[in-house]
């Protein structure tokens, strides 16, 4: 299978996946026990309000026609209206998206900055004490509740030592970098175990390659060997791991944003849960789902075009 065929095939597979994502988010309201409209609006809802919601979502129509209505609005960029804020869900999400994208990129960058040296230390001598330490310590991050770490970091570094703002997103590039350091670090800690593990494995792989032996034989000093030869070849898999784990990354931001009150999409989602603002929760789930699908596609295609050894038949 050729390169372009692979890309087309991947694009074609995107269609059923995205359709599936819309179907799942659509069906969410039907999982609500009882009459969704009544449950969402609460016990004090007037019959009129319930009737309006019924009409808006077409709840009295057949399921297929409800889904058609949902999709018709969706392709026109209409994700419904927030019950709490009274504005369109799409505008809410658009205004909250920059903070989340910032956090995702920042966390990914921090994860790389933390993982690369650690993986290098581990891979530099397989099965040595340092290797075991680097392999075990990140396991702590794997089982660490993100909200808990966020609370601890916040109390220690923001409240006690006042090194960082307690909450918020900051203003300007430097402000964002400063304010979002603790939130990004929290997300990165959860991500590091996965990245370190795959980076270490790919570095060990590269270290065994012939070109490394050649470089060693030529007398290339160890630091230079690591940076110029090993790291270069090992970083592509690490970036791929980040791409594959984008869902994990996004999931991590949701909780962390609400602890640090970073005004992103995750914070919006959690707040909407407390307000029982169903259309917003549904809209955020949909946007996150589509985001993951697109990033996974880009990772696949980028990986395939960067690495000539990737085979296209699956």
């Amino acid at each position: 299978m050729g390169r372009m065929t692979f890309v087309y095939r991947r694009l074609l597979l995107l269609i059923p996946t995205v359709l599936g994502v819309t179907i799942i988010t659509f069906f969410m309201i039907h999982l609500i026990p009882g009459d969704p409209a009544r449950t969402i609006l609460g016990i004090h809802a007037t019959p009129r309000a319930v009737a309006i919601l019924h009409r808006e979502w077409g709840l009295n129509r057949p399921l297929a026609s409800q889904y058609w209505l949902f999709m018709d609005r969706l392709v026109h960029g209409n994700l419904g209206t927030s019950l709490y804020y009274g504005v369109s869900v799409s505008s809410l999400i658009t205004s909250h998206l920059p903070a989340t994208l910032w956090l995702i990129c920042y966390a990914a960058a921090l994860a790389i900055v933390i993982s690369v040296p650690l993986a290098m230390i581990a891979a530099s001598r397989k099965n040595a004490v340092r290797d075991h330490v680097v392999r075990v310590v990140p396991l702590l991050g794997l089982g660490m509740p993100a909200f808990w770490l966020a609370l601890i970091l916040q109390t220690e570094f923001a409240v006690r030592f006042r090194l960082f703002p307690v909450t918020g997103y900051g203003t300007g590039f430097v402000g964002h970098l400063h304010s979002m350091f603790l939130p990004a670090l929290t997300v990165a800690v959860a991500l590091c175990p996965v990245v370190i593990r795959s980076l270490r494995a790919s570095m060990l792989n590269v270290l065994g390659a012939d070109f490394v032996t050649t470089a060693r034989a030529k007398g290339v000093p160890a630091p230079r060997l690591f940076v110029r030869h090993v790291l270069r070849n090992a970083v592509i898999p690490a970036v791929t791991v980040l791409g594959i784990n984008i869902g994990f990354l996004i999931g991590g931001t949701v909780i962390v944003e609400s602890v640090f009150a970073v005004d992103g999409v995750g914070y919006l989602m959690i707040n909407s849960i407390f307000q029982r603002d169903f259309p917003v929760v549904q809209g955020v789930a949909l946007i996150f789902g589509i985001m993951v699908v697109v990033v996974n596609l880009l990772t696949d295609v980028a990986y395939a075009s960067l690495d000539p050894r990737v085979r296209f038949d699956r």
Binding site: L13, P16, T17, G20, V21, I23, I24, M28, I29, L31, I32, P33, V136, L139, L140, L142, G143, M144, P145, A146, F147, W148, L149, L151, I152, T155, V159, R160, G247, F248, L249, I250, G251, G252, V254, I255, M269, I270, I273, F274, F278, V281, Q282, V284, A285, F288, G289, I290, V292, V293, N296
Partner: protein, 294 residues
């Protein structure tokens, strides 16, 4: 009951491993596995023997003794309602670990079943199941779990449903991959030409050979489930008060973090250590099954 599901899982595959390759490291010589088993063993023992270890009822409020510092009577002090923190920690572990160990069974069973069917039959069944996997995988784990529990209503039942609906995909992927390789081997071909039914071949011949990978994954999956449960409880969607649970403890304690740090820090640390123990067991099992591929 949750204890039983874990402990026999470790020695059983080890026994087969020893038979296959006598010189392979025995399970008790795997440092990661041993460390993990010790950690989880201690935690499970303390949680199960909670009534013998602590004299306090986790739910009894004593408004004359609120927010006490750690002392000989209250090892970890008391919370804002005068309940003994150590006691709530142990009983909270009962709740969280019971739910986590039960919750992992449903996606394990569903995923293994769907994965075997997809891998064994191939064709449109495979296509359908794997597209379904793609769709569920598209959602970030926590986002989908939180959204599902939100629509289903808070509580234990919703946690089981949400974790099952989201968690089965990984098992399906793992088991399908293993089955794809295993079904081409002679013993399967022999069973097929012997006229055995597909169900029998899958259940009696294929599954015992492919299930170890799913069991290894289940260890890290329990960690994920514990995190999901405490996160949901932290958000007020999981275990409902007054039932003790680590997530609610962290959430209640966060208001007193600067003055009574132990209320939040200790339950979180226990979650971390539990996660570490389970991850070590998973890693150790993986090393035991695939030597040389650490």
């Amino acid at each position: 009951m949750s204890a039983i599901s874990l402990t026999p899982a470790a020695p059983a595959p080890a026994a087969t491993a020893e038979r296959a390759q006598p010189r392979r490291a025995r399970w008790y010589r795997q440092p990661a596995l041993m460390a993990g088993l010790v950690i989880i063993g201690i935690i499970l023992f303390m949680v199960i023997a909670a009534p013998l270890i602590t004299p306090y009822n986790p739910d009894t409020q004593n408004l004359n003794a609120i927010l006490l510092s750690p002392s000989a009577h209250h090892w970890l002090g008391t919370d804002q309602e005068g309940r003994d923190t150590f006691s709530r920690l142990l009983y909270g572990g009962r709740t969280d670990l019971r739910i986590a160990f039960i919750a992992v069974l449903f996606p394990f069973a569903l995923g293994t079943m769907l994965g075997s069917v997809a891998g064994y039959f191939g064709g449109w069944v495979d296509l359908l199941i794997m597209r379904l996997v793609d769709i569920v995988v598209a959602f970030p784990f926590f986002v989908l779990i939180i959204a599902l529990v939100f629509v289903l209503g808070p509580g234990e039942r919703s946690i089981y449903i949400a974790i099952t609906l989201v968690g089965w995909v990984s098992y399906a992927r793992i088991v399908r991959g293993e089955i794809l390789v295993a079904k081409r081997q002679e013993y399967v071909l022999a069973a097929q030409s012997g006229g055995l039914s597909s169900v029998r071949i899958m259940a009696r011949h294929l599954l015992p050979n492919v299930i170890t990978q799913a069991i290894i994954y289940a260890m890290s999956d329990i960690v994920q489930d514990i995190l999901a449960i405490v996160t949901l409880s932290y958000l007020g969607l999981g275990i409902q008060p007054p039932a003790p649970d680590w997530g609610t403890m962290i959430s209640d304690g966060q208001n007193f973090l600067t003055t009574h740090w132990q209320l939040t820090t200790v339950p979180g640390l226990v979650v971390v250590v539990t996660g570490l123990g389970l991850s070590l067991i998973g890693d150790g099992l993986a090393d035991l099954m695939r030597p040389g591929q650490s």
